[in-house]
């Protein structure tokens, strides 16, 4: 697989919310994200950009239309199969870090790797240390997840997302909870990931500065993609 092949592709994806009244939040969205692409989805609050991302993430299966991931049709697959696909091919970074506070920083990072089972623990720890080193927080590896600062937590979350070498990194407002200094660090890391690893990045954000640094800005409005 080379740069330019589609990593994620949607065909006429529509989504309805039924509570409190039925409303269509996504209207036949067609979107292709290619390998190595660093893209952002921007748009007003409630335009459906987060909703779209959760469908792309395979966590939300309640939609119409079709979703292809790495050339494979994932629409209609079982939850267990989808879990496996997420584990192997998708990395997530959310606005909130979602680290498990009872585990050390290192354990938090390698948990998805242990689940995948491609590598044994020592190898995973080495890889995790590598990620931490590039983010400048290797000294925190043995600390508990709740003992480090907010900016560091988000970097740990990014390291966790990268542990299984995913095809695509999906980020929902990754800088939403961070101050400008930490935002800048995270932006820098994303840039480097995209450049060095030829990995696709899809970032949903309000942050115009972050969006401006991406290669491609996808603008959404009222459930439709209005600008690619």
């Amino acid at each position: 697989m080379s740069n330019g092949d589609p990593v994620i592709e949607t065909r006429k994806v529509s989504k309805y919310f039924h509570d409190p009244v039925t409303a269509q939040v996504l209207k036949e969205v067609d979107l292709v994200v290619k390998r190595g692409e660093y893209a952002s989805i921007v748009g007003k609050s409630g335009c459906g950009k987060s909703t779209l991302m959760y469908i792309l993430s395979t966590m939300d299966t309640d939609y119409e239309g079709e979703l292809y991931l790495d050339g494979e049709r994932v629409t209609g697959l079982s939850h267990d199969r989808l879990s496996r696909i997420r584990n192997e091919k998708i990395g997530f970074v959310f606005q909130f870090h979602y680290l498990i506070s009872e585990f050390s920083v290192l354990d938090n990072i390698i948990l998805p790797g242990l689940k995948l089972g491609r590598f044994e623990r020592p190898e995973l720890e080495e890889r995790a240390m590598g990620h931490l080193r590039t983010m400048g927080i290797e000294h925190q590896a043995r600390n508990m997840a709740n003992q480090i600062s907010g900016g560091e937590k988000q970097r740990v979350a990014i390291a966790r997302a990268l542990i299984n070498d995913p095809l695509i990194l999906m980020c929902d407002e990754p800088t939403g909870n961070l101050d400008s200094r930490n935002s800048a660090i995270v932006e820098e890391i994303f840039k480097r990931i995209a450049a060095e690893h030829h990995r696709s990045l899809l970032v949903v954000t309000h942050d115009d500065e972050l969006a401006a640094r991406t290669d491609r800005i996808i603008t959404m409005d009222d459930g439709r993609i209005v600008a690619l």
Binding site: R86, F92, Y98
Partner: protein, 425 residues
């Protein structure tokens, strides 16, 4: 590997709520310990009390009951008379007493041979019962001497359990030896080695040597009953060797007793009574005590189960974020369920194992409480049944309870929708 990973996550989550987990485990511990201690004690007591009846009662007793003829001779004459159509006849001879009949079982030796060949029979012990008088100084004391086969009586009916002095072997080997009831011996002021004079109802006198004392715990019994060998009693009564009044039968299977008693009664033309008919009340007591110990233990375990259910529910509510991210990063619903069921089982196993230990210690403690029981002179402390069945049932039940208590919260956790949690932030 995968399971070890999930187990690792479970134990880490458990450590996060260590105190509540311990409280939940202690609940399991107490219920298991109580169950084991209670069952061991109850069943120890049950088998002790049941043994009092079961061990000293033959499963079937063959004997010959002395009673008037079923049909009195004149009744037959009367029937014949009226059948001939000769009108009403009055006769004034009635209540013809039994006569010329002995209490012995007819053809006892033949019956005993037949019984020994029956594969359902564990063993038989013959008995010769005799009413006697003991001459104590100038007065006479009523007594009953039972002629027994000491070795068989001990093997089948645990005779030696009730011997407070002397041994079965001494009774068997001493010519004209007798084991006196404890009450009777006290009354007569005799000791081991003394000679007592016994008079049969027919007036025959015999000197018997005291070789032991017998105590059953029932005063009326101990004040009257004595034991000697079959031949001693036959000599005392001046009866032949085939004079046997009771044949006591022990079976391999107690449950067959009623049917076999009927069979023997018909086959040998004797009276036969089975243990169930003779002691209908004893099984009820055991059953009730068993039910009580089970009910108490089940209640305790159910309470412990609720404790586990509670803490897991709380933990899951607290850990919704963790569950969401586990599912987002590739753990399936089944994995999450396994994690929380493991959690519950860890609590159950830890609590259960400590419970086994505590239960065993409680049993040991109960076993040391002094307990004097007249009916069984050898018993000095409360009886405890150390049957491994109770710990086994206890631990299995603990695992089942904790599994069920963990199942529902775990299922809830497995159904958590990560999108809902993550979007909510």
């Amino acid at each position: 590997m995968a399971f070890r990973l999930l187990l690792g996550i479970s134990s880490t989550l458990l450590r996060a709520r260590l105190r509540q987990s311990i409280v939940a485990a202690v609940g399991v511990t107490f219920s298991i310990a109580m169950y084991i201690a209670l069952s061991g004690f109850m069943n120890g007591l049950n088998s002790l009390l049941d043994g009092l009846i079961l061990n000293r009662t033959p499963h079937i007793r063959l004997y010959n009951e002395i009673r008037p003829a079923d049909q009195q001779p004149l009744e037959r004459a009367f029937e014949l008379h009226s059948a001939a159509g000769n009108g009403t006849v009055h006769h004034f001879i009635n209540r013809v007493k039994p006569k010329g009949e002995e209490a012995r079982v007819r053809n006892a030796l033949g019956i005993m041979d037949a019984l020994r060949k029956d594969p359902r029979v564990l063993g038989i012990a013959p008995k010769v019962a005799a009413q006697v008088m003991f001459n104590v100084g100038t007065i006479e004391v009523n007594g009953a001497v039972n002629g027994i086969d000491p070795k068989e009586e001990d093997r089948l009916l645990h005779f030696s359990d009730y011997l407070v002095k002397g041994t079965v072997a001494q009774l068997a080997s001493t010519n004209n030896g007798i084991v006196l009831g404890k009450g009777l011996a006290d009354k007569m002021q005799v000791g081991i080695g003394d000679v007592v004079q016994v008079t049969s109802i027919q007036g025959d006198r015999t000197m018997l040597k005291v070789v032991g004392f017998y105590q059953s715990g029932m005063a009326d019994f101990d004040n009257v009953q004595c034991f000697a060998t079959v031949s001693t009693v036959q000599n005392l009564l001046v009866k032949p060797r085939n004079y046997i009044t009771d044949i006591q039968v022990r079976l391999h299977d107690l449950a067959q007793a009623p049917a076999m008693a009927r069979e023997y009664a018909a086959r040998f033309g004797v009276d036969a009574i089975d243990i169930q008919t003779a002691n209908a009340q004893f099984e009820t007591g055991s059953a009730v005590r068993n039910i009580i110990s089970y009910v108490v233990s089940i209640v305790l375990l159910v309470v412990a189960g609720f404790g586990i259910y509670n803490i897991l529910n709380m933990l899951i509510y607290e850990k919704l974020d963790s569950i969401a991210i586990l599912k987002a990063t590739g753990f399936s619903g089944g994995d999450v369920r396994t994690i929380f069921i493991n959690l519950s089982l860890i609590i159950g196993i830890c609590g259960g194992l400590v419970g086994l230990l505590l239960g065993w210690l409680l049993q040991l403690a109960i076993d040391r409480i002094p307990f004097k029981f007249d009916a069984l002179p050898t018993v000095t402390t409360y009886p405890v049944d150390y049957d491994p069945l109770y710990p086994t049932i206890g631990i299995l039940f603990a695992l089942a309870t904790t599994f069920i208590a963990g199942w529902f919260p775990a299922r809830k956790a497995s159904q958590v929708d990560p999108v809902e949690i993550i979007r909510g932030k």
